[in-house]
Symmetry: C2
Subunit: 297 residues, 2 copies
C-alpha cells in the first residue's frame, strides 16, 4: 500500500474542478462534457507523480496543485480524443461510456480542446499570482514548459500519431519503443520534472528522477498492454483483447507475455537502483513501480 | 492599402514555421499535416493585430513574433478541428482541400492538438529566454495568459460549442451575439491585448484597444457571414451559401443583408471613434476595420 500515492490522489481529486474557468449557462454542455471525463475515475498517476516529485525535492504540495490538475486535464483530453471513432473508436473507458458516446463527437472534440487549453490557462493564471516573486515565478514557468513539451509534437502527440500510423502494419522494435516513449513516458517524465522544478531540485536529483520516470513510463505502457491480454475486464473498466483485435503494436504482440513481464521487471529493478542513493526517502517512487510490476504477474 | 498590415503579415509568414518543435522522421506525417494548414494562406489577421498592438504601445515587433505565430497556430488548429466531419464537415478551406481530406481524420485531430500545444510550448520557451529579465518575463506571462483565456472554454471553445448546439435551432439575438463574441471576437481581443502587454500599454490604451477589438471581432464575423451570402466563391476559397444550407445562426439569416451591412458600418464608426484620441497613430487599426467594412458593400 502506497499511502503517499493515496494522499496525492485524494488531493488531486479534491481540487480537480477548481481550475476550470467559470463558464456561463450557455457553455454548460461543453463544461459538463469536460467534467464528465475528469470525474470518471482513473489512477491520477501523473498528478501523483508531480506532487510526489515536488515533495521529494522539498517543495510544498499545496503550491503545486494547479500543475497537478493541469497535467490531469491534459491526460484526460488525450483520452477523450484517443477514444474518438476516427482514432481508437472506443465505447467504454474506466467502466463507463466514453465522452463522445454521451455528448456526441463534436462536443467531445471541443471538450478535449477545452481541457488542453484550460490546463495552460490555469498554469498561466497561477504564474500571475506569483508575479512579484521572481523565484517562484521561474519555477512555474519551468514546470509549465516541461508539461507543454511532454504533451506536444515531440512528445505525446508524436506518440499518438505514430501509434495510429503503425496500426495494421508490421512494427519494428525501434518503432514500438518510439511509440511508448512518446505516447506514455514523455508525459510521465514531464510530471516528475515539473514537480521537481516546483520543489528545489538539484541537477543530479532531476537527472535521476528523469531516468526513473522514463523507466516507469515504459514499464507502465508494457504493463497496460499485458493487462489488455491477461487482465479482468471488470477491474480494467474496458474490454480486453482490444489491442490484438486492432492489430495494435504492443510489447506482448511482438515479444509474447513472458518476455514482456521480464521487461517490466528489468525496468522496475533499474528504476529502484537509480533512486537507491536516496534510500527510504524515495519510497513513494519505488513502491509505485513495484506495485505496477506486481499487477503484471 | 494598409502597408503596416502587409508588413505584419509578411513577418508572420516568414517566421510561421520557426516555432514548431523539431520533430524526427517518425513524426513527419503529423508535422506535415500541421505545416500544410499553417502554410495554406489566410489573412493572418490575429498575428497582424498582435504585432500592430505591440508597435502601437511602443514595443518591438521583433520581440513579439513568437506570440504572433502562437496565436496563428491556435487559429489554425481551430480551423482544422472546425472543418472535421463531426463539426462543420467542410472539404475546402482557402481554396484547397481541408486537412482531414488530405491526411485523414485521425491525423487532422492530432495536428490540431499538436498546433494548440505547440503554441503554448513556443510561448513558454520564449519565457525561458527572458528568464533573468523580470520586466520582460512578466510581459510574456501576461501575453500568454490573454491568449489562453481567449482560446479557452470562456472564449473560442465556448463559442464553437454554442455554434454547434445552435445549428438547426431558432437562435435568439442574444445567443447569436454570444456565439460571435466567443467564437471570433475573444481571440481578436486576445491578440490585441497580448500585443499591448508585450509593448508598454497604459491602462487607458489597453481599455480602448480592447473595445476596438470587440467591435472589430463582431464586425469581422458579420462581414464573413455577409460574404457567405454575397461573395465570390473564387475569392473566398470556399463554397458560398454554406451557412444557410447548414441552418447556421448568422446575422444575415436573422436580420437580412441590409441591416447586417448597417451593423458592420455602426461597429466600424464606433471602433474608429474609440481610437480617435490617438489621431493618425492608430491608422493601422482604423484602416483595417474600414477595409473590412468596404468588403461588405
Amino acid at each position: 500500500m502506497n499511502k503517499d500515492y493515496l494522499r496525492f490522489k485524494e488531493i488531486t481529486e479534491e481540487h480537480l474542478l477548481d481550475f476550470l474557468p467559470d463558464v456561463d449557462s450557455k457553455s454548460m454542455t461543453v463544461y459538463e462534457s469536460m467534467k464528465y471525463s475528469l470525474t470518471a475515475g482513473g489512477k491520477r498517476l501523473r498528478p501523483a507523480l508531480l506532487l510526489g516529485a515536488c515533495e521529494f525535492c522539498n517543495g510544498h504540495v499545496s503550491n503545486s496543485i494547479t500543475y497537478a490538475c493541469a497535467i490531469e486535464y491534459i491526460h484526460t483530453y488525450s483520452l477523450i480524443h484517443d477514444d474518438l471513432p476516427a482514432m481508437d473508436d472506443d465505447d467504454l473507458r474506466r467502466g463507463i461510456a466514453t465522452n463522445h458516446k454521451v455528448f456526441g463527437e463534436a462536443i467531445a472534440i471541443l471538450a478535449g480542446d477545452g481541457l488542453l487549453t484550460s490546463a495552460f490557462e490555469a498554469m498561466n493564471k497561477d504564474m500571475l499570482i506569483y508575479f512579484d516573486d521572481p523565484v517562484r515565478l521561474k519555477k512555474r514557468v519551468r514546470a509549465s514548459f516541461e508539461i507543454a513539451k511532454g504533451a506536444g509534437c515531440r512528445g505525446m502527440v508524436a506518440g499518438q500519431a505514430a501509434d495510429i500510423e503503425a496500426e495494421g502494419k508490421t512494427c519494428s522494435m525501434e518503432m514500438l519503443d518510439y511509440i511508448h516513449i512518446n505516447k506514455t513516458a514523455d508525459m510521465i517524465i514531464a510530471a516528475v520534472r515539473a514537480g521537481a522544478h516546483l520543489g528545489e531540485a538539484e541537477p543530479e536529483t532531476l537527472d535521476r528522477l528523469t531516468d526513473y520516470a522514463e523507466n516507469l513510463g515504459l514499464a507502465f505502457q508494457i504493463a497496460d498492454d499485458i493487462l489488455d491480454v491477461t487482465g479482468q475486464e471488470e477491474e480494467m473498466g474496458k474490454k480486453k483483447g482490444v489491442d490484438a483485435q486492432k492489430n495494435k503494436a504492443t510489447y506482448p504482440a511482438l515479444y509474447g507475455i513472458e518476455r514482456s513481464r521480464q521487461k517490466v521487471s528489468e525496468l522496475t529493478d533499474e528504476a529502484i537502483e537509480i533512486l537507491s542513493p536516496y534510500y527510504d526517502n524515495a519510497e513513494f517512487f519505488t513502491t509505485l513501480i513495484k506495485d505496477l510490476e506486481d499487477r503484471t504477474k
